[in-house]
Symmetry: C2
Subunit: 225 residues, 2 copies
């Protein structure tokens, strides 16, 4: 029994169960002891066991089937990965997001359809340029355009990861330095669409890179100060 410096009984119980799984002692598909047994083994009440199991179910480790039992679903801790990715520096996160943008534009150029191009132009027109007013809403419109570019790649994995970054980045950026980062204008955005339309992957990724460069340098000077 490892003692965590500061953890509730429920967290300790969850950790104990988790380690049984990650260590492989409880294999995937295995059935856990029932709640009464677990509560006896872990020396906590059944209510606490249930809360611990709830957490592990939410994390994808376990699955409960009423009337049948609780079973091991997976032994990989995906929530840990996400947690660590969130703890990386803002610049790394932004750079990673930029990498996704670049490669998505490349794929979009390879796979674009007239419909996609039309949609992108419409989203860009809706976005417009920022001329004061509700900045929050403008950022949302801007994000919608960028997410559409990612969607144009046709790759759902890229979309999911991008969602993760756009959430964390906008949370951080908007609160701290939003007003000081230069927003690329309409032409820079239009260049990306044009490059995708030509079907040239190198041109598309280059357009995104040109687009991102000034934002990066602004971010770098801000983070240094």
């Amino acid at each position: 029994m490892q003692t965590l410096s500061k953890s509730s009984l429920t967290e300790s119980a969850a950790q104990a169960i988790r380690s049984e799984i990650t260590s492989g002692r409880w294999a995937i598909g295995a059935k856990l002891p029932n709640e009464a047994s677990l509560s006896a083994t872990l020396s906590v009440s059944r209510g606490t066991v249930r809360e611990a199991v709830r957490v592990l179910v939410a994390q994808g480790f376990l699955e409960t089937r009423q009337g049948s039992g609780t079973y091991v679903l997976s032994s990989t801790d995906t929530s840990k990965t996400f947690d660590m990715a969130r703890r990386t520096s803002l610049r790394d996160q932004f750079e990673a997001r930029c990498a996704l943008d670049v490669e998505s534009a490349r794929l979009a150029a390879l796979r674009h359809t007239p419909q996609v191009i039309t949609d992108l132009r419409r989203l860009l027109a809706e976005r417009g340029n920022y001329k004061g007013g509700d900045r929050q809403e403008f950022i949302a419109r801007d994000l919608a355009f960028h997410k559409a570019v990612i969607a144009a790649s046709g790759n759902r994995a890229l979309m999911e990861i991008y969602d993760f970054f756009s959430a964390t980045i906008s949370e951080t950026i908007e609160a701290t330095i939003s007003a000081e980062v230069p927003e690329p204008d309409m032409q820079a955005h239009a260049d990306i669409i044009d490059a995708i339309e030509t079907g040239n992957p190198d041109a598309a990724s280059a357009a995104v890179r040109r687009f991102m460069a000034p934002v990066f340098s602004a971010l770098d000077t801000l983070l240094q100060s």
Copy 2:
């Protein structure tokens, strides 16, 4: 956004609280009503409320402070993102991983040091070519090389995401089609190191792309059959 057709009371309660948060009705930092009030509002027992709160705490939405109350931490569900990324198709996952490889090589070329190049060459030598034997172990050595390339980018966010994909991809690939996907040879790997050493980002990313192309076509034909 999938709504579960059949959800337990706890899940319903968690969803109800979650929507209060994501909709913004309960702002970040706000204090939730106490457990008794929540149980009355949601028409469930306090135990159910506690299990729901546990889940939301595990997902990063809430924070409980004993003796004080329960507070809103964040309004974005970040833990779900990676979970959804894991559910995307194998091809999308592989393509996303490839995108990370390409952009990491580009960054590595911009930031490489002699030490990094030396390490990469050593890892490649240790990897060797596959000549039968323990395939599992060879894949591990191969993965070590690729992760070193990502590490050479100096971007921790990319490393974390790559870790996520390498885990899921090797889980899937090794079990299904490992023997039928062509493994790029030593020269293809060496090309990547050389390109990084020259400091030319375009050459580095192009080398990775050339490296990945045959794997992709093999994967595509396999997935079609």
